[in-house]
Amino acid sequence: MGLRKTSTNIALPDENVENENREVPRDFTQLKFQILSLEPSERRWAARDLGNHPEGVPILLETLETETVVPVLDAIFTSLQKHPTHECVNGLIRFLSSEDASVRNNAIEVLQSMPNALETHILSLLNHPDSDVRIFAIDILQQLVHQNAPEWLKSVLLDETHVNVVATAVDRIVEIGDSSILPTLERVAQRFAQHDYIQFAVNTAIERIKEDTYA
């Protein structure tokens, strides 16, 4: 996990009121400087406006490394969401290892909105050496609108050896799987026959999928 100060939720002036009084220029060169301002409200505006410039993506990603004020962080993630590119996905992936839950969860949410750009990265995330990152990759899959998402989760159920990663996959497959996944779940139960929790999770998942299927 990377070193990073935890984010701080401070109140900033109302956006609409501030917009009326805003007299600073919005060209790209100025925005690059404004995002370094000591004033959080200026940084928030710069983060928001940089979202209109594709070349602003690396600056926004770099700012994420040090920014700690929640409204500024929110503006950065909103702006990054406008650019579902490989560059953006690559940059966001490293924040899955952030110590700051708020940053990590925002990165997960933005990545969930970029199914096409994420496609080529998902297998490496599901095979990441850090089991927590593998769990976060499964969290991404849960809300990822991609036709391969159930297949990717199935591969975790079949091949993953870390009990907590498998447990997360069993929990999440209920949301996106159908009755075709039931034999795979039974194999998970066999592979982890000594783990009470996995037995419970598999039985619960099977029950919930059957309920959804025959409801």
Partner: protein
């Protein structure tokens, strides 16, 4: 009867722990993240909280810190439950204000021992 608040974003985990804690004689309330837990805790007034680490909106560390900053709630014991078994993860949990630290998936005897301690202290 003793009361426990189970805080975890995974439904299956909550169901599993709920079943175990009810078998141990606890009344259980659930929350899906730290933020919802802070809303529910005022009314529920639990004797203990079972807190996951990684959750959306508010994680377990932040929840416990918020709890410890509240004069009326700071006495409530917190059991942090995590996928991480490393020493520095335990230290981080204790630094945040956790009273106990257990590694997922929780074992019945571990929860049993801790619940006895909580019941004895409450």
């Amino acid at each position: 009867m003793k009361k426990i608040l189970i805080i975890d974003d995974a439904l299956t985990v909550r169901m599993y722990h709920k079943q175990l804690m009810e078998q141990l004689g606890f009344v259980v309330e659930e929350a899906v993240n730290g933020l919802e837990a802070l809303e529910k805790i005022q009314d529920f007034q639990p004797d203990a909280c079972l807190v996951d680490v990684n959750m959306p909106k508010m994680d377990g560390y932040r929840f416990i810190k918020e709890l410890r900053n509240d004069e009326a709630l700071r006495h409530i014991p917190c059991i942090m439950i995590s996928t991480e078994a490393e020493q520095h993860d335990k230290e981080k949990a204790y630094a945040a204000g956790a009273n106990f630290y257990i590694v997922k998936p929780a074992k019945v005897d571990e929860l049993q021992n801790i619940s006895r301690l909580i019941a004895g202290a409450a």
